[in-house]
Symmetry: C2
Subunit: 595 residues, 2 copies
């Protein structure tokens, strides 16, 4: 079963709950757009994803990418699919019309990439880096460089890479060693090796534009000495640049995307931005890139859920216990291989019809819980997508700053929490299949393997947690973050129990933040120890907010009510557990108890 | 890095904490064995596993098993390794000397299989089923059948399978359809198809003995109609029996073990046990088989930990924040790619030396937490292995019954909790490697893929939870289970804080059990909904007991103290969370609150 995008589900959140059309129309570039236009774009995107991209997923995993003599062949159908994707204008969905883009809101592009990842994570890696490269070049490139490269990247005629990691410099980019030596003509010559380069080489486009983090001669050590250089695979005169793919990695999953070791052997390139401003140039795109990874997580979880839901609604095993309120004896089934002879129905009695496994409580709990994660996380992610649009285009500087602040706080939370849930939730969905989940045939194990990488790339989840707590929340003792939470609190209706509960959680989070800020003075390691717990607490509080908003929206459905109930029964209790861990850690420092 | 068994670690638990030698010497068959003998056996086992089995693991994954025209070729080296394993007498470690076995305690065999799985899960599947087949045949086979097959199985000269699952009968074995038609000579003819048969066909031994769950003509429907039949691959006269391997599955992992679809095409076989007693015959071996799966989980987690520990002690990235008590400014590092330019050390300043990643709090937490799981779970598992020996060999019937009861309650808990931790903990260890964890080179991703199956086979983890709560604990409202917990409580020393805390948890568990027994009367679905939570609560309470015991043992080390602290800080809080979920679910039924 291939992934099926469901535009109505997305629109009920984007329009029904968040009121996106009105918010977007307040932004000059989107003044003309309306709800119908968005619906139409998503309808078309859904069709394209379902018809062209999703069917290539399994072969993309099984055949994978091939490497031979420096050339990479992508899986069957990928090149044609990318050509169609480009021709239909999808790569440039949110790029400026001046550059050849469609000029649509970033939030719609976010939905497109959620669906693409759900349908075919490997394929999605190719265009997935375009948007970041576009923003980076647009903001920091010279006019000459922009004239040559920006339209090709905006439209996706050429694909792009981000060449950051080196063998000894993973999370620690300050140690990057690749050298850029300035030439008389204003270009630089690049020398060095990069690893883990997604799409470093492939057969999808005529040219590939590499953005390379490197160091000019005499640059200071550490992150301040880093510069960014653009180096294309093919130079303007048609000659091949000295950029070589040395090999591709054998990976756990994501076989549809070539992960390349790249060697720059005196390759010609040009600085993007000022010398020593390499990281700053990259930061332009960090929030949107991380939001896209969060949406990959949501998409992959939805893909796993769709498969498990369909299987649970078809497969029959054992008799499920009766629903609450159904009178009668204890259930006979539900034990399966555990039911000893003797324990079954009387001699000669017919075996009762097996139930759909969806009716078994353990299976229902898995499915309801994952659904609760998917739609709750979607609401937060789509809101963040909207904030990206607001941060770029709102006429009021204060509104832009507030939106930017939202993105700064919420993006690492979404990146870490949604990718962790993608992996763990996909594994829970695999469990629904029993033994069949472990074999390739059903495609569910591929999702688990593919999802695992999202917890690592674009900054590991541990780095996200440190970014949130240590770099963003604690420096002003949580004052800025409190303002963001306050805005959410004010959207709730305290006369409803669940809303009041969510409000209490924001207050508790505020208190914990203050405690942490105090404890960190005495014990600088402590915030690093509990950063993951803190991030989870933030995500769970926001999910609580999300489910209140979804339930309160006009037209909320019975299935949404079931998801909200599952969230509160099975997911939300983690909040208290994590809060307890943080509280105890702080108390041990602030008021040490005598042994 | 291949897995390295560490006999001293195991002996410190088995002898130092559990006092196994004295307990075993009280059992007639082991009266002669002493601590030195055990140490010697484990020393030899560790060497064999490290030198012969572990080095084949990676190629076992990469090359996997090949299927061609009904024949299965195992990965390079597997056949020679199995031959050496058999010749050294390891398959018969706990089998009776009369049958050609070594007559050693089951608990030593449990340790051997933990190490085998850690070193090479795929290989371990082949001999892993021998012990169950041996017990099954020994207890239920006719003398004629035993004479022909028992010694070959006891010594491992021939391997065995359990043929249970059919395409439509997974957890629900009552629906098995394979037919056994009695013949004039006392044999039966088997007709039917089985799936997910580990080692159904291979090149490791001259013969393969299949134990097949099937149905005699006119047998009643459901589990009472099931019989067990032995059908060898090669008949006594040397002719090939009509047992065919149709294909092997493509799986997420466990590539070293062929998972076969088997067709019985009028194959000759013989009943094992009475007609209709097929499940009963299988139940003989259920506790030991499930304990072995739990130990696979522990072993795989230890293998993942060894890899992550070694990597964390070698790889350097960023500067770790100073340890508690170290005065000075906030740490400069620890942010890595998040450190904006400008945020680093002053212009021209040297970049400080990077720390070992083991010094980073998030990494240390992962490593300490997994170590706490491994050794805590080991203690419970080894104790359960000892109880298996007691249940078989104790001269006092009451002691045998108590040991049997322990195994009944604790085995499903270990099976589910240790396999879940194997998968999740191995994934946490993968995270230690960053991007390198996702590529095959380091071998950590193989462990995650291999471990995933242990949550499914030998009864899914959801089935284990239902077995524990619905079938075993609730029928007598928890009275029998309370006796088992009481025995553990009495081993603790209430004058120590952590022991008193563990005792309180047993009391809380007792209370929750009573609540659940009441709630189940009104809401028969409820125990099925919270069975997983209940099982986790039991495991966490037992881990709390385990860490008190380990800490209190003479010679407890500093690293054990660190594990105990990690367990209490990061793992144990889940107890309250799960208890809260169960309590709330019960209260909703027992004393419904007006809306």
């Amino acid at each position: 079963m291939d992934y099926q995008p469901r535009p109505d589900d997305v629109l009920s959140l984007l329009h029904g709950v968040l009121g996106a059309p009105a918010q977007l129309q307040a932004l000059p570039p989107f003044a003309e757009g309306d709800a119908d236009l968005h619906a139409q774009v998503l309808e078309e995107a859904g069709k394209f994803v379902a018809e062209v991209i999703a069917p290539l997923n399994r072969e993309g995993d099984e055949r994978g990418c091939r490497f031979e003599a420096g050339r990479v062949t992508t899986p069957p159908g990928f090149a044609d699919a990318y050509h169609a994707f480009w021709q239909a204008g999808w790569p440039g969905l949110s790029a400026a019309p001046d550059d050849g883009g469609q000029g649509l809101p970033a939030v719609l592009e976010a939905v497109l990439y959620e669906w693409l990842a759900a349908a075919n994570h490997g394929f999605t890696m190719a265009p997935g880096l375009l948007h970041g490269a576009y923003e980076c070049l647009r903001h920091h490139g010279s006019d000459a460089l922009k004239a040559r490269y920006l339209p090709k990247i905006a439209t996706g005629e050429w694909l792009a890479t981000m060449c950051l990691t080196e063998a000894h410099a993973g999370s620690d980019l300050g140690r990057v060693r690749t050298k850029a030596v300035p030439q008389a003509d204003g270009s630089v010559r690049l020398e060095g090796s990069k690893i883990f380069i997604s799409g470093g080489e492939h057969d999808l486009t005529d040219n590939i534009v590499h953005l390379v983090l490197c160091r000019l001669p005499d640059a200071p050590a550490g992150p301040k000495g880093l510069s960014l250089v653009l180096a294309p695979k093919v130079l303007e005169d048609g000659t091949r640049n000295a950029v070589h793919c040395e090999r591709i990695e054998e990976k756990m999953g994501l076989h549809g995307s070539p992960t390349c070791v790249m060697r720059f052997d005196g390759a010609t390139g040009w600085l993007v931005g000022a010398p020593g401003q390499g990281l700053a140039a990259m930061f332009v795109m960090m929030n949107s890139a991380r939001l896209h990874v969060a949406l990959q997580g949501i998409g992959l979880l939805d893909a796993a859920w769709q498969k498990a839901r369909a299987y649970a609604d078809e497969r029959r095993q054992m008799t499920a216990p009766p629903a609450a309120g159904v009178a009668g004896a204890a259930p006979q089934g539900g034990l399966g291989r555990l039911g000893r002879p003797g324990a079954a129905s009387g001699p000669g009695a017919a075996v009762p019809d097996a139930s759909l496994i969806a009716e078994h409580p353990a299976i229902a709990r898995i499915l309801d819980t994952q659904r609760a994660w998917i739609d709750g996380a979607r609401l937060i992610a789509y809101r963040t997508g909207l904030q990206l649009d607001l941060a770029r285009h709102h006429p009021d500087a204060k509104a832009r700053a507030a939106a930017q602040q939202w993105c700064g706080y919420v993006t690492p939370v979404l990146k870490a929490a949604c990718t962790q849930q993608a992996f763990e939730g996909a594994s829970a969905c695999l469990q629904v299949f029993g033994g069949h989940g472990y074999v390739r045939e059903w495609g569910i194990e591929q999702i688990v393997r593919d999802a695992r990488v999202t917890m690592i790339y674009e900054g590991t989840n541990e780095i996200q947690a440190i970014d949130l707590l240590v770099r963003k929340v604690l420096p002003d003792a949580g004052a800025g973050f409190a303002r963001t939470l306050l805005a959410l609190r004010d959207e709730l209706d305290a006369s409803r129990d669940s809303d009041a509960d969510a409000q209490r959680r924001f207050a508790q989070l505020r208190y914990l933040t203050t405690q942490l800020a105090m404890a960190a003075q005495a014990a600088p390691r402590l915030p690093y120890e509990v950063a993951d717990d803190y991030l989870r607490i933030v995500m769970l509080a926001m999910l609580a907010w999300a489910w209140c908003r979804i339930e309160a929206a006009p037209g909320a459905t019975a299935s949404q009510a079931a998801s909200a109930a599952a969230f509160r029964r099975w997911v939300l209790p983690e909040f208290e557990m994590r809060a307890g861990i943080v509280k105890k850690a702080c108390e041990a420092v602030i008021a040490p108890v005598a042994g």
